[in-house]
Symmetry: C2
Subunit: 327 residues, 2 copies
C-alpha cells in the first residue's frame, strides 16, 4: 500500500527532525556536558513517546491546511517528552543500580552516581527550557504539573516497597502516575497544540493514559514470564527491588493464607519457575493480561472522536502492539 508507506516515510522524517531538535537543545559550551549528552542520545530507543506526539498531531490535523509552525511546535513537544522520559531513565538507573541500558554501560556505572544524578537534572532543566521555546505558556504549566505527578508516583511506589498487602487500587494509582500520565500528556497536549477541541484533546489524553497503563502491565507480565525468566535464570528486577507487579498483586489478594506464605517464601528464594506456577494457579496471570487487553480496547474506543485516517489507524496499531510485544 503506497498510502501506508507515505505515512511511515512522513513519520520517519519527522522523527529525524525531532532527534535534531533534541540534540540541539542539549548542546552546551562545556565539553564534559556535551560528552554526557552524546552518551544519553545512545539511550534513545523506539522513540515511542515522540511517535505518540507526532501521530496524534497528524491524526488531529487530518483534512486541515498544513502548518509548518504547528509542525515545529509538535516536533519540540516530541523532543521535550523524550527528554523528560530520558531523565527518568537516567535517575531510575541510579535507583536500580543498573549497569546496562540498550546494550551499553549506564552513566552511573561509567561516571558515578553523582554525575548520573546531575545529568538527569540537566535533562529535566533542558526539557523545561526547550518547552518554553514553544511559545505556549499553558504548555509549561501542563508539563510542570505532569512531571510533578510523575515524581509523586515514584515516591508513592517507593513508600509501598515490599508492601505485601498492596491493593489493586493503589497499584493502578502508582502506574497511572508513573506511566499513564506521561503517555496521556503526549497525546492530550499534542492534540491541543494541533488545534483539537477540549473534548477531543481529553479523549486523546485518555487514550494515551490507558495505553501507558496497558504498556506497564505488559512490562509487569514480562518481568515475570519474559524469556529470561522462562529459562529460569533470574527473577524479574521489579520483584527483586520489592516492587509488586500486577500479577503478584492480584495473586496475593486471591490466595489463601497458606498459599500466601508459600508465595512469599518463593519470592524470597527467587524461584521464578515456582512463582510462575503459583501465580498461574490462582488465575492472576490471566487476569493481569485480561486487564491490559481491556485497557487497550478502551484506549482504541477513545479514538472515535477522530475522523478516519492513516494516522488514526496507526494509533490503533500502537495500542495493539503495546500488549502483543514479548520484549
Amino acid at each position: 500500500m503506497p498510502h501506508t508507506d507515505q505515512m511511515n516515510v512522513n513519520l520517519a522524517t519527522r522523527l529525524g527532525e525531532v532527534a535534531v531538535c533534541f540534540e540541539r537543545a542539549l548542546v552546551n559550551d562545556l565539553a564534559p556536558v556535551n560528552a554526557l549528552a552524546c552518551h544519553v542520545e545512545r539511550y534513545r530507543g523506539k522513540m515511542l513517546r515522540p511517535t505518540l506526539v507526532l501521530t496524534t498531531g497528524m491524526a488531529v490535523r487530518e483534512g486541515m491546511v498544513s502548518s509548518t509552525s504547528i509542525d515545529q511546535q509538535l516536533n519540540s513537544l516530541a523532543a521535550v517528552v523524550e527528554m523528560i522520559h530520558m531523565s527518568t531513565l537516567v535517575h531510575d538507573d541510579v535507583l536500580d543500580e543498573a549497569d546496562l541500558r540498550r546494550g551499553g554501560a549506564t552513566i552511573n556505572i561509567l561516571r558515578g552516581n553523582e554525575t548520573a544524578v546531575m545529568l538527569g537534572d540537566f535533562l529535566i532543566s533542558s526539557s523545561f527550557h526547550l518547552c518554553s521555546s514553544v511559545g505556549e505558556p499553558w504548555l509549561n504549566s501542563a508539563l510542570g504539573e505532569m512531571t510533578t505527578q510523575l515524581c509523586a508516583g515514584e515516591i508513592l511506589q517507593l513508600s509501598h516497597r515490599g508492601n505485601l498487602t498492596l491493593d489493586e487500587a493503589t497499584y493502578f494509582d502508582i502506574v497511572r502516575r508513573k506511566t499513564g500520565v506521561l503517555a496521556g500528556a503526549c497525546c492530550g497536549l499534542a492534540a491541543k497544540l494541533a488545534g483539537a477541541s477540549a473534548t477531543v484533546a481529553e479523549s486523546l489524553r485518555l487514550y494515551g493514559e490507558e495505553l501507558g497503563i496497558a504498556f506497564q502491565i505488559q512490562d509487569d507480565v514480562l518481568d515475570l514470564v519474559g524469556e529470561e525468566q522462562i529459562v529460569g535464570k533470574t527473577l524479574g528486577i521489579d520483584l527483586r527491588k520489592g516492587k509488586f507487579t500486577l500479577p503478584i498483586v492480584v495473586h496475593l489478594a486471591r490466595c489463601s493464607l497458606l498459599e500466601r506464605a508459600e508465595t512469599i517464601a518463593v519470592i524470597e528464594a527467587c524461584d521464578a519457575e515456582r512463582l510462575i506456577r503459583l501465580v498461574e494457579s490462582t488465575g492472576a496471570l490471566t487476569a493481569a493480561r485480561e486487564r491490559a487487553r481491556q485497557l487497550v480496547e478502551h484506549a482504541k474506543g477513545r479514538l472515535a472522536v477522530l475522523s478516519e485516517s492513516r494516522a488514526r489507524q496507526m494509533l490503533v496499531e500502537i495500542a495493539d502492539a503495546a500488549i502483543e510485544r514479548t520484549f
Copy 2:
C-alpha cells in the same frame, strides 16, 4: 530607627507569605509526598535567596505606586528560587552521602537515596509548575536556562574532581555557574518583574552573581579554617570529596614542586592544621579572602543604578555579611 524597623517588619511579613506560597505549591493528594515535603520545609534556613528577590523588588519599586499583583509575582519567584535551591540541597546530600542538614537527619539517610533523588526531582518539577503560574512566559525560559547552567556547573565540577592542576579560571567558571547564576537570577529576574529597565536589571543580576561568588569563596575559606577545622577535628568536606577550593587552587598554583608534593601528602593525610599553615605560607588564604572582598565591593558598586532607599541599603548589608560570616 523606626524606619529601619519598618523595612524589617515588611520583609518578615513578605517572607512569611513566601513560606505559605512554598508550602501550598508542594501540597499533594498523596500522604507520602506530603510527609516528605514537610521534612524538606525543615531544611529552610535563612531564606537568603527569597530575601534577595524581595529586597531587590522593593529597591526597584522605591517611589513607585505599590502593586499587589507585582508583589504576588515577586513572592512566587521567591518561592520558586527557594524550591530550586532546596532541590539542589537534597541532591547534593545524596552526592555527598551527607547524614545531617540543619541539625536533622537528611532524606537520603532517613528514607534512602531513591527517595531523595525523587524528592529532588519533585521539587524541581514543582518549581517549574509554580513558575508557570506567575504568568510571565519569559520567566519560564529564564529559569529553565538558569537551572540548566546550574547543572552544567555541577557536571563541570565533577569532571574536575581530584584535578590538582585546576586553574583559577576554571574554578571561577564552576562557581559562577553553580552559585553565581542562581543568586544573579534572584536579583535580575526580580528587578525585571518589578519593572526595572533592562540596564538596571542587568546591573542587579551582576550584583547577585558577584555576591554569590563571594559567598562561595567565603564558604571555601570556612571549609578550610572554619571552627571545626581550627580545633583540628576534620578536614573540610569539599576537600575530602576532591573538590578544590579557592585557597587550595591559588596555593597549588603558587608553590614549588616540593611544596606541591607536601601539600598533596597533607591533603591525603587529612591533616587540617598543617594544610592551613601551608596555605597561609604562600599567602593563598589571604589572596582568596581579598578576592571575595573585591567581589563584594564590585557587587555594591552595581547598586548605583538604584535610587537611595532602605531596601538598597539592605542589599549593601547583605553583600557585606556574605564575607563577614564565620559559619
